[in-house]
């Protein structure tokens, strides 16, 4: 007897995705799957469209071709009302935090609750304080976003992203621009929240060390497609030159250092 897991299909699946921005190709034939309950890292150099991918999964952009399903629903063809219903179950952490600057920390975390529920004020207060306690900022509830450091702002944004207890949280470059201590805190939080709240996490990053530390599975993107995938251990051990280049942080290799350009000498000599 081998009982089949109840929900074996991945939470997010991306099939044959193509996307263009101003006629520039971002993705072509992209395929990937995000497993339930896991932390999946999506890695790649700057500008390979990692953030764009999150926007596609969240339905803010429409793919030119291909299908994205989230929890069995086709994102790109969902009517607006259904899409908004789906988004309530998805938290997103923007790189900038995207906190509402005219509200304090408490009101920022309370914002999704006030917009989407009719809970009594005392319950909202308890929920917000619980979320803030999780990220260690219960004492900072009366500060405004402008008064927060980068790391604190991101933790507040994280508390807001989980305030509706989503099934999935998408992190856009959660480690970028943080000092080592804040980075460690965020890394720990992503892993702990994922496991404690039974969520699924997608982490978009170019930070190899942090991603290897927390991810269960890594996708490496370049030139609009997945060039490698596997567990962190497998990725570290990979002998494929493009994987070694990225994981080892080598400046040039199969993944080009140069943005596509004409011949150098001709460019210098030309008018």
């Amino acid at each position: 007897m081998d009982p089949k897991p109840l929900r074996a299909e991945p939470l997010v699946s991306v099939r044959d995705l193509s996307f263009y921005r101003d006629r520039r190709l971002i993705f072509q034939g992209l395929n990937l799957a995000i497993e339930r309950g896991k932390v999946t890292a999506i890695m790649g150099g700057s500008g390979v469209g990692k953030t764009t991918l999150l926007n596609l999964i969240g339905g803010r952009l429409i793919p030119a071709a291909g299908v994205i399903t989230v929890d069995g629903e086709k994102v790109s063809t969902l009517p607006r009302r259904e899409l908004f219903r789906l988004r309530r179950r998805i938290g997103m952490l923007f790189q900038s935090g995207a906190l509402l600057t005219d509200l304090d920390v408490f009101e920022n975390v309370a914002f999704p609750l006030r917009e989407h529920t009719h809970l009594p004020e005392s319950l909202i207060r308890d929920l917000v304080l619980m979320k803030l306690e999780l990220v260690g900022l219960r004492g900072a509830r009366r500060l405004y976003p402008a008064e927060l450091s980068g790391g604190m702002g991101r933790r507040v944004a994280l508390a807001r992203a989980i305030s509706l207890d989503p099934m999935m949280v998408m992190y856009d470059e959660p480690f970028a621009g943080l000092d080592p201590i804040s980075m460690g805190v965020i890394t720990k939080l992503i892993r702990e929240l994922n496991d404690a709240l039974g969520m699924t996490s997608i982490v978009v990053t170019h930070d190899v060390t942090e991603a290897s530390a927390i991810a269960d599975y890594i996708y490496l993107l370049d030139q609009g497609r997945v060039i490698a995938e596997g567990t962190p251990a497998a990725m570290q051990a990979s002998t494929a030159p493009e994987v070694r280049q990225f994981m080892g942080g080598l400046p040039d290799g199969p993944v080009a250092f140069h943005y596509p350009a004409g011949e150098y000498l001709a460019d210098l000599l030309g008018s």
Binding site: G58, R60, F84, R85, R87, R88, I90, M92, F94, S96, A98, L99, L100, T101, F111, P112, E115, H116, R160
Partner: protein, 266 residues
């Protein structure tokens, strides 16, 4: 040959500018239509609108009070100076009231509102866009058109007629003070002439209609420019300038058209 080419490219440039302008106008109209479902916020979350009326109204109230008082006093001085030549200075009250209620109240209030509150609206929405706050709201399944844009638009629409009424009232009071204390006119005559000469349907209602139209147009331009701004600091600053310039010109142009229709009685 070269000359020809330069002319062609200049004509092309003009054509492109016109096409861009028409495309922008089209986007603005589509935006307004998309905004209409958000008006339900008036019924469901009236507090958001009230809060914005408070913000924009209070923002503009002081400048409207001061300007209204000065304009009223100037009207009294200038009007007296002209009327006294025909020995008609007893009509000063009527002259001041008609000028303010029909014309200066709505128009000057609209111009002040565009410069003070309209630009602030554009900058606020533009900055929210630039700092991903609007995108963040969308991902939280909150429609920024409904939550952020519609309340501001509606608030502007409500605030402008109210402020115009205050402007006219303050202006008339200030004119009264100047006329009685400085010019030595009889206070009773000042009010009596006004009471018998100002018609509610033609004059007051005409002024109210004007300011309602101005409020709509300024609110529309301000929120559209903010929402359509390029999400950079330069883009937001340009959008803010455009709000003031475009809405001032729109107010004056529309004022001419509406005045022409109103004076001919349609």
């Amino acid at each position: 040959m070269d000359q020809d080419w330069r002319i062609v490219s200049r004509i092309r440039h003009i054509g492109r500018r016109v096409l861009d302008g028409v495309a922008r106008l089209g986007r603005a109209v589509v935006f307004l239509v998309r905004l209409v479902p958000g008006f339900s916020v008036m019924a469901t979350r009236a507090s958001l609108v009230v809060q914005q009326i408070y913000m924009t109204g209070v923002l503009t109230l002081v400048i409207v009070l001061v300007s209204g008082a000065f304009v009223g006093m100037i009207l009294a001085l200038q009007g007296y100076n002209t009327l006294v030549r025909y020995d008609a200075q007893s009509s000063l009250g009527l002259l001041v009231a008609l000028s303010l209620v029909r014309e200066l109240g709505p128009v000057l209030t609209a111009l002040l509102f565009a410069g003070r509150a309209g630009s602030a609206m554009t900058a606020e929405i533009g900055l929210m866009k630039a700092t991903e706050q609007l995108a963040g709201m969308e991902m939280m399944a909150v429609d920024p058109l409904k939550r952020v844009v519609a309340p501001r638009f509606l608030a502007g629409w409500v605030a402008v007629p109210l402020l115009a009424a205050i402007f006219s009232a303050v202006g008339i009071l200030a004119a009264y003070v100047v006329a009685v204390s400085d010019l030595g006119l009889d206070g009773g005559v000042f009010w009596a002439q006004m009471q018998s000469g100002v018609s509610f349907t033609n004059d007051i209602l005409g002024g109210v209609i004007k300011s309602v139209v101005f409020g709509l147009v300024i609110g529309w331009i301000a929120v559209f420019e903010g929402y359509d701004a390029r999400p950079t600091s330069e883009g937001v600053s340009r959008a803010t300038t455009r709000t003031v310039v475009t809405s001032s010109l729109a107010v004056l142009g529309l004022d001419f058209i509406m005045t022409a229709f109103m004076l001919r009685g349609l």
